[in-house]
């Protein structure tokens, strides 16, 4: 059984930066996963991310990114893409921690073999607890990318018959419909 971490990264108080935790919580509410899968809202981790990823066979991180692409564009990065950009170009709003974490895990010999970053290009990072329209419109695609990676890894997931409670406590969203589309 592959041990997988699905981790949402970002600050839920900074507009689109909250998309990582947002997607992680949508996934947890809508799907059931094999017992070896952990879905976590990691906030804005620094070096403790090493502890979170250590011992996993695969890590799927969801985070906002800051590229020249249109807001809401979903871009995928593998480990080599992430560490190649260090330290010249900032690709991810938490890249210093992410790059250090991946390089550190390599050095200590605890790096997960599979790493995928599902990046959602942000529109605005202004203080506030809601996502912009363009980022909202890409939530389904971000979720699909995560599920696609699980299929590639051969890890099971099932749509829940009854959705579990949405724990988007920092927003006013109470239903899956409003969380995805409003």
């Amino acid at each position: 059984m592959k041990k997988v971490l699905i981790g949402g990264i970002g600050n839920v108080l900074l507009g689109d930066d909250g998309v990582g935790p947002y997607v992680a919580r949508l996934l947890a509410a809508r799907y059931e996963f094999d017992d070896s899968v952990e879905v976590a809202d990691l906030g804005t981790p620094a070096l403790d991310l090493v502890d979170q990823i250590s011992g996993k066979d695969a890590v799927i991180l969801i985070d906002s990114i800051d590229t020249d692409a249109a807001p809401g564009t979903v871009l995928l990065y593998r480990k080599a893409d992430i560490i190649r950009h260090s330290p010249g170009v900032r690709m991810d709003t938490h890249s210093p921690a992410l790059v250090d974490t991946l390089l550190g895990a390599d050095f200590f010999g605890i790096a997960p073999p599979d790493v995928l970053l599902v990046g959602i290009n942000a529109e605005a990072y202004e203080a506030g607890c809601s996502l912009s329209e363009s980022v909202r419109a890409s939530l389904d695609q971000a979720i699909a990318e995560v599920l696609g990676e699980l299929e590639r890894l051969g890890v099971g997931h099932r749509r829940r018959e009854h959705e579990a409670q949405l724990r988007l406590w920092w927003t006013n969203e109470e239903t899956m419909e409003s969380a995805l589309t409003r």
Binding site: N11, V12, L13, L14, D17, D41, L42, G43, T44, P45, A46, L47, D48, V50, D51, D66, S86, P87, G88, V89, R90, T93, H94, P96, A97, D100, L103, G104, D106, F107, F108, G109, Y125, A127, G128, C129, W169, W170
Partner: protein, 566 residues
């Protein structure tokens, strides 16, 4: 001719601190500390239920989540005049201590040791000689030749591959690096081991807080941990025993490794006891309350002005009137609207970005002042304030550290030498040793109190209506943290967080007085101005964290320049 050097960013982990120094004759003659991002997330709290504020403030920063949660519930409790049951105080104290131990270990090893330790010297070390040296310094059982050899092999593999990976940004081979190959290997091996022990400290936070990185067990008026000695789902004997075992291991690492390494590095770089002093006004708040009302504490607070240790003024409580009345924030050199300094209860956060101008506005960090003066906060402040008041635990470990540095280095050390870059590292190790002892004490206090049959963890908050103000403080790993809340009709009317890194990284104020980072850099000698390692040493000694002082995003997104010599 004077040269301007810009270092941006200066934290090894996420952060957006920029330092500009003007160098003449290989000596720093002027300095500016600035933050390159805008914050302003406090405004999100306006209009919300004060009982929920801690959930939001916990997201201010990814590194210090728990400290902002704690300061927030304390602020609301202060406003409501609400006491906290003993069990809740002890559980909170254990969380705060465990978090601080994790933080201090990570700071020294992962964030600043490599300012002093040269990776490229490690392949030259003799692991057998290293083991012999290590055994002469400490009883640590993992100081074996095999451990040193294994760490050396890892470094050899990285160095010979030419891909330095995580070590690619160091100033290796810099003339200010002075340790022998064996001491470099010794410290580096502990750098590797430190990762395991900081994790054990975080596990304690996770057990008590239900989760990391965001704890779930706080509530205004206490904690949400159900205490039931026999239930596996509540906090019972199994969980408490688990915590005791983890704490014992962390305590041993602090005493036998971290404390010893800091003393050894200090002894070998003794000239750094004369560098990096700066602002000699110090402030700390009392913390680790020992009773429900918060009248007695295990960590003392107070303030010292102009390095006058004998003239220390104590703070009696964590929301001492002198502290409550004395704090204001100046925005003369910060990118905000507004004129005269404002008290946090009436504080505003309205941005007015004008671009970096060292003569005018140059930082997103406001300049907090205590009765109009800049203050240095952090472990050094706490240790000096405790030492000055004759606090027995502070005296015990300060004297122990001084003795160790003297023995290892064969030099004379006095408490006055703590006003320095090395003093900040030494004080952090002293504080860690104090906290290690207090971790075991508070574990016992909790167990003894539960054994008496007291299972109470929460007092119900009661709102009286009208407008009330509160301040919640915490002596956090980087120093004095204060959250200021104004509650009107059960809703938050205003909220401000004055965080440790804003005290230390503050820009100049209306009077032109430097903040602590800036002042500490003046007169620093640089061996190679184009590789300003010495600047990094002093700034890192404060344990900077701009993710907290500002927020974790850089609007331009592409400002990562390593070092620019202008």
């Amino acid at each position: 001719m004077a040269k301007r050097i810009t270092i941006d960013p200066i934290t090894r982990i996420e952060g957006h601190l920029r330092i500009d120094v003007e160098v003449d004759n290989n000596t720093v003659n002027n300095a500016w500390a600035s933050c390159t991002m805008w914050r302003g997330i406090e405004k999100i709290l306006r209009g919300r239920d004060p009982r929920d504020a801690w959930l939001f403030t916990q997201r201010f920063c990814g590194v210090c989540t728990t400290v902002h949660a704690m300061a927030s519930v304390r602020a609301v409790e202060d406003a409501l005049k609400l006491e906290v049951p003993l069990n809740a105080q002890y559980i909170r104290n254990l969380i705060l201590i465990a978090h601080a131990l994790h933080d201090h270990i990570v700071h020294f090893y992962q964030l600043s040791a490599l300012d002093w330790v040269d990776i490229l010297q490690i392949p030259k070390a003799d692991p057998t000689a290293t083991a012999k040296l290590a055994e002469s310094l400490s009883p640590w059982t993992r100081n074996s030749r095999n451990e040193f050899k294994a760490a050396q092999d890892r470094v050899n593999a990285v160095v010979s591959s030419g891909q330095l990976g995580i070590f690619m940004n160091g100033y290796w081979g810099h003339p200010a690096m002075r340790l022998s190959p064996e001491v470099n290997l010794l410290a580096f091996t502990h750098y590797v081991q430190a990762l395991e022990y900081q994790r054990k400290a975080l596990q304690v936070v996770g057990i008590l807080g239900s989760k990391t990185p965001h704890i779930q067990n706080l509530t205004v008026g206490g904690v949400a941990n159900a205490i039931d000695l026999d239930s596996p789902s509540a906090l019972g004997m199994a969980g408490l025993e688990n915590i005791r075992v983890l704490l014992d291991e962390v305590v041993r690492f602090i005493n036998e490794v971290y404390f010893v390494d800091v003393c050894a590095v200090a002894a070998m770089y003794a000239d750094w006891f004369k560098i990096g002093s700066g602002v000699r006004n110090y402030m700390a708040v009392p913390d680790l309350p020992l009773d429900s009302a918060g009248t007695a504490y295990d960590l003392p607070g107070g303030y010292i002005m102009n390095g006058n240790i004998a003239g220390v003024h104590p703070f009696k409580t964590a929301s001492d009137k002198e502290f409550r009345d004395g704090v204001s924030e100046d925005v003369t050199h910060a990118y905000y609207q507004g004129g005269k300094p404002l008290h946090p209860w009436v504080g505003e956060t309205d941005p007015a970005f004008t671009g970096w101008d060292g003569e005018q506005k140059y930082s997103w960090v406001k300049a907090p002042r205590f009765r109009g003066d800049p203050m240095q906060v952090g472990p050094l402040a706490q240790v000096l304030i405790g030492y000055a008041q004759g606090h027995p635990l502070t005296r015990k470990y300060t004297d122990l550290a001084i003795g160790k540095v003297q023995t290892i280095g064969g030099i004379h050390v006095t408490p006055d030498m703590l006003h320095s870059t090395l003093g900040r590292h030494a004080a952090r190790a002293i504080r860690a040793a104090m906290l290690a002892e207090l971790a075991q004490k508070h574990w016992q206090l909790l167990v003894d109190n539960i054994a008496k049959g007291d299972y109470s963890v929460h007092n119900q908050p009661v709102f009286s209506g009208g407008e009330v103000e509160g301040v919640g403080t915490h002596e956090a790993p980087r120093g004095t943290l204060s959250h200021w809340v104004v509650i009107k009709d059960e809703k938050i009317k205003n909220y401000q967080a004055v965080v440790p890194s804003t005290w230390n990284a503050s820009p100049r104020d209306a009077k032109g007085a430097h903040g602590p980072y800036e002042a500490s850099l003046l007169h620093t000698p640089l061996a190679r101005p184009e590789e300003p390692l010495e600047v990094l040493r002093t700034v890192h000694s404060f344990d900077p964290c701009m993710a907290c002082a500002c927020h974790a995003f850089d609007p331009s997104g592409r400002q990562i320049a390593k070092v620019k010599v202008l």
